[in-house]
């Protein structure tokens, strides 16, 4: 589809450059994205700028012909570049009722104008549609000069195009990422994602895990595997936040045949590893428990989600946790053919 074929189409570059934020799977069915777009999209991006106009001294029969051949229901009236009003089918019906199709536009046109500004967000136009109950609005520029016309249909089309744009953006990202391992030739390609996790930073708790899961999906990992990694890495991330002195580093290494996640911190270290592996054992403070952490299930959960888990720890030195998930062949585009 060539968007330039229609004067109503909005410039793809424009949207691309300004937003380009990929959307989540859930956004797809999300009405709020449309609401967001009604603020992001501007009237001039969706309006028809190539508009037919009438003049005040034009006979109404001539306007009728313009409306008929262009299949539109109204046109603005320009008096020497100046916007004088609008003449629509309803006005023409009034003229017909009076049997005066040869009368001049100035006699029957609507002088009370409802206009929107071309650089207004489209929600302003939607508001004006609701308030005025009109089907089309005149768009003016900052000098009050005619810039175009906008209908509800233009808005719908513009929003749909923008949504489609968002989709393409995410698809493209996914496509690019999922071919990473095929496109880069080496004996062994590894993609390393590194996150610095701060101690006690509950505000950002889980962010790294969400990003890792998202990255894996983009790389073409099986959703089930991405979810297992997400859960394991979340528990590990929260352990850094809850239990370490100074936070630590969370690392995920993605290879075509396996995903290795690890955390490294510099203390306090675990005195008894056997103990922390028991379900229900926790050293979390009362305060942290009140937030719902410290169930003593973190490492148990990790073990359940990954194929291999290793903990090395030295009191006073720190802890290293390594988790590994193997990617079964033909299960993922992470695999090379």
């Amino acid at each position: 589809m060539n968007p330039m074929a229609s004067p109503r189409a909005l410039s793809e570059q424009e949207i691309h450059g300004r937003r380009g934020r990929p959307i989540t799977d859930r956004d797809a069915t999300d009405i709020s994205r449309v609401e967001e777009l009604s603020y992001e999209l501007k009237v001039h991006e969706v309006m028809t700028s190539d508009v037919r106009v009438a003049a005040p001294d034009m006979p109404i029969s001539e306007v009728l012909e313009i409306l008929r051949t262009n299949r539109i229901s109204g046109v603005p009236v320009l008096d020497n570049e100046r916007l004088a009003g609008v003449i629509s089918i309803e006005d023409i019906v009034r003229a017909m009722r009076d049997g005066k199709l040869s009368a001049l536009v100035s006699e029957y046109m609507t002088r009370k104008l409802v206009t929107v500004l071309s650089y207004d967000p489209i929600f302003k136009a939607l508001q004006a549609f609701t308030e005025s109950r009109l089907g089309r609005l005149v768009v003016v520029d900052e000098n009050g000069r005619l810039a175009g016309m906008i209908t509800k249909g233009d808005i719908t089309r513009g929003v749909l195009l923008a949504l489609q744009r968002d989709y393409k953006e995410e698809e493209l990202r996914r496509y690019r990422a999922s071919h990473l391992f095929e496109d880069i030739i080496s004996d062994r390609t590894t993609l390393v994602l590194r996150y610095n996790i701060k101690a006690q930073d509950f505000i950002h708790g889980g962010n790294a895990s969400s990003h890792i899961k998202r990255a894996l999906l983009r790389l073409g990992a099986d959703p089930q595997i991405a979810r297992r990694c997400g859960i394991a890495v979340y528990e590990a991330e929260m352990n850094l936040i809850i239990h370490t002195n100074r936070g630590g580093i969370l690392k995920t290494e993605v290879e075509p045949h396996r995903i290795t996640m690890s955390t490294v911190d510099d203390g306090p270290g675990i005195p008894n590893i056997e103990q922390v592996l028991q379900a229900g054992y926790s050293t979390a403070s009362e305060q942290v428990r009140e937030m719902g952490f410290g169930a003593g299930m973190g490492l148990v959960n990790i073990k359940r989600c990954v194929d291999k888990m290793e903990i090395e720890s030295a009191v006073g030195k720190g802890t290293r946790l390594t988790m590994r998930i193997h990617i079964p062949e033909q299960n993922s585009s992470l695999q090379k053919d």
Binding site: D30, S209, S210, G292, G296
Partner: protein, 115 residues
């Protein structure tokens, strides 16, 4: 039973941005205030019932892709939590009822556990 019907039947307050709740069909439910238990017990498209209302429920709900979180006894998440939920596409619902009552009502409505 879709999420829209559940929201109506249980008179839940929607805290996050509206989405097409009628197209979401929860397949089960899980109740706990301990996040790691939720990580282990709740699954995608479950309803999670909890008293917790702080920011970290969003990460858990988002990673698990639960259908919605019902926060009981009028516990109020703060603005940052709601904003993050919107960002991650997580639906937060609220009720003055207790967790016990909500679980019972959900079970009655046929939200049980997948076979």
């Amino acid at each position: 039973m879709n999420l829209q019907q559940i929201i109506e039947q249980l008179e839940l307050t929607i805290l996050t941005e509206p989405r097409d709740f009628a197209s979401i069909y929860p397949v089960g439910g899980y109740t706990s205030d301990l996040l790691s238990c939720v990580m282990a017990g709740a699954k995608g498209n479950y309803i999670w019932v909890t008293l917790q209302s702080h920011l970290n429920i969003v990460a858990v709900a988002g990673l698990l892709e639960v259908a919605a979180v019902i926060i009981t006894e009028n516990a109020q998440p703060d603005a940052a939590t709601i904003a993050k939920a919107n960002e991650q596409g997580v639906t937060l619902l609220s009720t003055p009822k207790t967790t016990y009552e909500i679980d019972g009502r959900l079970w009655e409505l046929g939200i049980r556990l997948p076979a």
